[in-house]
Symmetry: C3
Subunit: 203 residues, 3 copies
């Protein structure tokens, strides 16, 4: 039986892969190319985190991420015409995935005895770097740097985690509070179209 | 005296580097930029593989790859006008390189005790990721995700390797069969312009 | 009290981050996006070097680089209109940073017992790869591959280091001579608009 966290993780991986596969389809990628973009979106952030931390990338010890991205591809192939009606559902799953991946990144970094500011950076990378890699591979400006608050939600969730940890809260409570913050900031940001200020400048 | 495998490896590295240098030349890169693109095309896939596997990148212990890419640059500078007549030759060399690099990636991964599905992913990365890095650096959509079967040939070769291995074939036979599959799939795919289905979708 | 090298390193990091943040501002990035581009420009080269060398990335053990890039962001936000008058100053700081980062890359690689040609490659990566990552993220052709001599200055400085080292010069003198070469080559190249030949070719 998969645990509750495993079910959430699978759902988040699926939502991240779907977002990559759909953007790849807009660029006329073939099935294999779309699969690679979906997989990169789903596991890219955690892979960069693990390389920086000096540990074996998480997906190399468990085939479920590679399989989950394959299921996402089949799903998009079968239901491409109806996916647009599920946009709100995917958005919720994506936000849940963002929250969970950020918490996984922070917890793993702290378990390796890095300081807190490194953990926040790694939470951010785990949550957001896959989407950046996706946008680089499909030759677009990274969306997370221009649109509604995304990576900043990971930073805020990281600080909430830090405060709860400092107040000696139970680890489960600390992670739930941090993850809920990421999720809520993201939902509120998109609902009210809140973005950070755009930087203006002449080069 | 270089061994037979070393000669094939040098030829493949040369063909990969040539492909990068020629695409760079279409973008008005200078000699140094073209060299970097050629080198990245040739060693990029193996470098990503080695970082993921947690070992020192292969080219850092043997200067021949860096030198080989330099020779490829000199070749393009000297014979740029006649290269177009050699397109078929380069295509054959490129397919040989793809086959050999895939087998090297699989063998190295298995030798480090990773499971088979990781080895197939690594064979694919070794063969195809350098071309993806090349296309990202010259700011184009990665070719391998849209054109004739390329990375998929590495996956098929990986499965042939797996079946031969499972049937207890001699390691040399197993590698030859796997490499020959990669080579043949690639040649047939280009000759008959066989590609995977294009993914259609609305975002 | 920070040492002389630390002051130079901070100045170089600041100049690299400023260059990234200003290019991001031309692409309508938000503050967070601009910060990430600035940070990547400043620490990207050294991070790739450390991953290839198999050591923990330098910025993960010292928060000053992350803070320095944040100060660069605040600077650009506050003084965006007057920055254009400081172009010459930033250019000098950037060249100083390039020289110092190259020498740090070479020294660190040699300290890990890699051969000299690897150290020159790593000096080059430390100095120039951050700018390449910046250009990939803002979806532009990498500037260093097409404009005035940049990465080539790192290679020349590496050779000067090598010759001084081979002549048994004092380590401090060796590093100063190498760094001064990088700086001078870069300044002269921009002042007289010296570039490497452009590679012409038909694909």
């Amino acid at each position: 039986m998969p645990s509750f966290v495993q079910i959430i993780e699978f759902t988040g991986t699926f939502a991240f892969a779907i977002s990559g596969i759909r953007l790849a389809s807009a660029k006329q990628f073939d099935w294999f190319g779309a699969y690679v973009i979906g997989l990169t979106t789903a596991i890219g952030g955690g892979t960069i985190r693990d390389l920086l931390l000096g540990v074996t990338p998480f997906w190399m010890t468990d085939p479920s991420y590679v399989i989950c991205s394959g299921l996402a591809l089949i799903w998009v192939i079968l239901f491409s015409k109806t996916l647009i009606h599920l946009n709100n559902t995917f958005f919720i799953f994506d936000a849940i995935g963002l929250a969970l991946f950020t918490m996984i990144g922070i917890t793993k970094t702290l378990a390796l005895d890095f300081p807190f500011w490194v953990a926040i950076v790694m939470g951010c990378i785990t949550g957001a770097a896959g989407g950046v890699m996706r946008d680089v591979l499909i030759n677009e400006l990274p969306l997370v740097f221009r649109k509604e608050i995304y990576a900043m939600a990971c930073v805020i969730g990281g600080w909430v985690y830090f405060v709860c940890h400092w107040l000696n809260f139970d680890p489960i409570i600390t992670q739930l509070a941090g993850g809920a913050s990421v999720f809520l900031v993201r939902i509120v940001a998109v609902k009210y179209q809140i973005g950070l200020p755009i930087l203006k400048g002449e080069v």
